[in-house]
Amino acid sequence: ALVMLFSPLPRLRSLLQRCWGQLEHGLLLSFSRGPSPPWGPALAVQAPALLPEPVSVTTESNEVPSLFDSILWMAAPKKRRTIEVNRCRRRNPSKLIKVKRNIDVCPECGNLKQKHVLCGYCYAKVKAETRLIRIEIGKKEGGPFNAPTVETVVLYDGEKPTEKEEGKRIIERARKRPSWFAQD
């Protein structure tokens, strides 16, 4: 068979031509000896360039290997945790509930309170009174968005406004003044 080689270098071309000449010369000599040449292809088969892998391999590689052959894959405890080890973990100080040492007795009402927090009972008392005062304010103002442009003062039963409460709006509360709300 004739093979056309287009090499960029003319020297390489001439070298290849000489080599090819020598090969042909050797081929002619061998042909004169025997019928079959020593390096011809034994069997020529028409097949695509890339042979496909067997089907079973591709399907296997996409899926997760089944539990049947993955003994090394899943984590599992090796030994039973003894009760001593369990106790150490469960009773470790970081897991126990902390004891609160900041609880005191409120001097006013005697209920318990945390040191940095207001007493719940006293606060509820003040909150109830503020709510009643706010109802009175609401009755005085009438509608929404009627905030006054003067200060407010709260007076209880039988109290008269002093000269300090000159230009202020008076809110009347129909009860005796409580001991914890001193008149300033």
């Binding site: 001097p107 006013e108 927090v117 606060y123 200060e151 914890w180 001193a182």
Partner: protein
């Protein structure tokens, strides 16, 4: 060499992330400031009260500059959503806090909310409000040991000083 991202570290950052975003946080705080100026004592979650306190005090500082000041009026207009409170701010609160140099609010811790969330609550109030006081300052009675000893000392000093 820096091994951690600057955005993930929050050392020294002062502003809390409240609400849905920065604008939502400002709206939340604005509502709280309006409520405080209207009612003068409100019960809110502690974190919100803490954030709101600075804004409320700065608003009162702006109000102290006066009614005619353009910047003060614009600030009050933004921060108070109910416009009748602008009058209250300039005429009542600015006058009330004129002698005070700062710290116009008082924030106190309340027992946790009774709801399922047991949130940390605080009550924030403007000083000088007409409502009953939350903390009654108690003076020690005369019958305590220390007071009796001091009283005896004072009487001895007077007896010696007279002749």
């Amino acid at each position: 060499m820096r091994l951690s991202v600057a955005a993930a570290i929050s050392h020294g950052r002062v502003y809390r992330h409240l609400g849905l975003g920065p604008r939502s946080r400002l709206d939340l705080l604005r509502n709280l400031v309006t409520a405080l100026v209207r009612h003068e004592r409100i019960e809110v979650p502690w974190a919100r009260a803490d954030e709101m306190r600075g804004y409320a005090e700065r608003l009162i500082d702006y109000a102290k500059l006066g009614d005619t000041n353009e910047r003060a009026m614009r600030m009050a207009n933004f921060w108070l959503t109910e416009k009748d409170l602008i009058h209250k701010l300039f005429k009542v609160l600015a006058v009330r806090f004129q002698p005070h140099p700062g710290s116009y609010t008082r924030m106190l811790h309340i027992p946790n909310r009774d709801d399922i969330d047991r949130a940390k609550m605080a009550v924030i109030e403007l000083k000088g409000n007409p409502f009953p006081p939350l903390i009654v300052p108690r003076r020690d009675t005369e019958k305590t040991l220390l007071n009796q000893l001091l009283k005896g000392y004072r009487e001895d000093a007077q007896r010696l000083a007279v002749p």
